[in-house]
């Protein structure tokens, strides 16, 4: 095979891989690495409430302290913090769930639906380390040792005409230390 034809095949291969990855992104979840850009295809509806979150540290003497989520996660970008909270701090997706968390996804090929199950391993030690990590973070932020628990409070929030948030409590997630 000549050099030129090898390069032609390389271009063809790139196109094939792209089509596969793009289909996976559209049908299921974005793979990495993938040659795709964010689309912002969903059209936001300003009148529809969004999910917001507050974090609170609770102490033994029933005191509580509001925790800035950016500070808690070492000033990670806002979008990453939101994903972290969404993936770990709700009833459906909790980092405190049993040792093996079962996840599944469906691939649609034509009229056929294929359900694929896969497992994410979350050992007991990892969960314990996770709780310890939060305890240490909250201790260093609040400078208090008498921590009882950490509360993640979810709200459905809408905005008035001036852009002021109107919060309605939705779900609470508790980590006991």
């Amino acid at each position: 095979m000549t050099n030129k034809s090898k390069i032609r095949w390389l271009f063809a291969l790139v196109l094939v891989i792209y089509v596969l990855e793009f289909a996976i992104k559209l049908k299921f979840e974005e793979p990495y690495p993938a040659i795709v850009y964010p689309a912002f295809g969903d059209i936001p509806n300003i009148s529809r409430p969004i999910k917001t979150v507050d974090i609170e540290a609770l102490f033994n003497n029933n005191d509580s302290s509001e925790i800035d989520k950016k500070t808690l996660f070492y000033n990670l970008p806002g979008a990453t913090t939101t994903v972290l909270l969404r993936e770990n701090f709700t009833k459906n997706r909790s980092f405190l769930t049993p040792v093996v968390a079962k996840k599944s996804f469906t691939i649609n090929i034509g009229f056929n639906h294929f359900k694929v199950n896969y497992f994410t391993l979350k050992s007991k030690k990892q969960r314990e380390n996770g709780i310890k990590w939060f305890r240490n973070r909250l201790t260093s932020i609040t400078h208090r040792e008498d921590l009882k628990s950490m509360k993640v409070k979810w709200y459905t929030t809408s905005f008035d005409k001036e852009g002021n948030p109107l919060k309605n409590p939705a779900e609470e997630f508790l980590i006991d230390f």
Binding site: F11, V36, Y37, A39, P44, I46, Y74, N75, P77, Q126
Partner: protein, 385 residues
């Protein structure tokens, strides 16, 4: 009539014939961009517990069950710093480019195992693809023998076309979900909806955002929706003609400027990549006239390489020791200097991003003006003849 293979070959091998000097200069620009704006580092990942390890199901990260050790991440980070400096001076350019791209890719795979993927794939893809071009044949500390003029140009110009193809495909991937999401529906003004959401829900209210908020004409906003989709979905066809492609790249730069002014999103990581497609002949002639290239040739020495390498490695280790608690995806001397005067990390990123975007806009605009001037002169001389 030319056959399909001939047409494909013309696009792949003849679209972007950059001289070795231009490619070498671009390699220097790429490395300087990384060093000044920020070389990706990964030790910050270990700030987080393994319970947060949540890689995309189809990814390199999915092959593992936890984040790697701190030592591995440190090794990866220091290698990326060293390889960037080595590439700047053109040491073993092919091997170094491939390793640099590979190490960044591995590091990013773990970075995005927290669950959120950023779309900065060009930072690792550029060195990996350009490794096969002649970007290591000029401005290097080695003396490089070029087999023939053919080897210097057309046979090795395909990596630039491949990069162009990647850009087209990425743009196309952004267009399809927009069409599926209803952007073309006249009853939805998607760009305006994003502006409202960004303005009120995310508090992005700077630059021209308040002025755009006052514009309520449906036709005006629908035009934006259509323009975005037409632009992103037809990028692929622009690959047929290099100058049309350059026009599209220029529009992409304007698109980022618009994003910054309207939605206050500074997306500057792509700027250095866009510069790959400008007409380098004009730039190189200008730089040669001003003696910049002569100066660069003098600067590429083993002595300067050693000094830069030691300084940068020392800077990285010092920044690790002295760094604050905050997560920093990259290390950069510019950022560190700005941090002495400005406390807000987001503001620093915005300042650096805006300077780069402004520089890219000026350079590409000059390029466009010079192109039209050249065309005008050419047509004038043709009509005179």
């Amino acid at each position: 009539m030319r056959s399909l293979t001939e047409r494909v070959d013309r696009i792949i091998f003849k679209s972007f014939n950059l001289s070795n000097e231009a490619l070498g200069f671009y390699r220097i620009c790429f490395c300087v961009f990384l060093i000044l704006v920020g070389v990706p580092v990964f030790t910050w990942i270990k700030k987080f517990p393994d319970i947060f390890f949540n890689p995309p199901p189809i990814s390199i990260g999915a092959l593992f069950t936890t984040f790697p050790s701190y030592f591995f991440l440190f090794f990866l980070s220091i290698c990326v710093c060293i390889l960037t400096v080595l590439l700047l001076f053109g040491v073993k350019p092919k091997l170094v480019s491939l390793l640099l791209g590979f190490f960044i890719l591995i590091g990013k795979s773990f970075s995005y195992s927290l669950g959120k993927i950023d779309h900065d794939f060009l930072v690792w893809l550029t060195p990996m693809v350009m490794a096969f071009s002649n970007w290591g044949k000029a401005f290097t500390i080695h003396t490089v023998k070029v087999k023939s003029e053919n080897d210097a140009n057309s046979d090795r110009s395909w990596p630039v076309t491949l990069m162009a193809l990647f850009l087209c495909l990425a743009m196309f991937s952004a267009a399809v979900p927009k069409i599926m999401g209803g952007w073309l529906n006249f009853s939805t003004q998607a760009v305006r909806a994003h502006l409202l959401s960004s303005y009120f829900q995310e508090g992005r209210q700077d630059f021209l955002a308040p002025y755009f908020l006052k514009l309520k004409s449906r036709a005006f906003w629908e035009m934006f929706d259509y323009a975005a989709i037409i632009f992103e979905s037809t990028f692929l066809f622009a690959l047929m003609k290099p100058n049309i492609f350059r026009g599209y790249v220029y529009m992409a730069i304007l698109f980022h400027v618009m994003n910054l002014l309207m939605l206050n999103i500074s997306f500057t990581g792509n700027c250095i990549f866009y510069l790959l497609f400008i007409d380098w002949k004009m730039v190189m002639n200008f730089l040669e006239e001003k003696g910049v290239l002569k100066f660069l040739r003098k600067m590429i020495t083993v002595r300067n390489l050693t000094i830069t390498l030691l300084l940068y490695a020392a800077f990285y280790i010092a920044s690790l020791i002295l760094s604050s608690d905050d997560v920093d995806y990259t290390i950069s001397p510019v950022k560190s200097i700005l941090k002495l005067f400005i406390a807000d990390n987001t503001l620093i990123k915005l300042i650096i991003g805006n300077i780069i975007l402004f520089f890219t806009l000026v350079l590409s605009t000059l390029n466009v003006i010079l192109y039209f001037k050249k065309r005008k002169n050419l047509s004038a001389s043709n009509s005179y003849a």
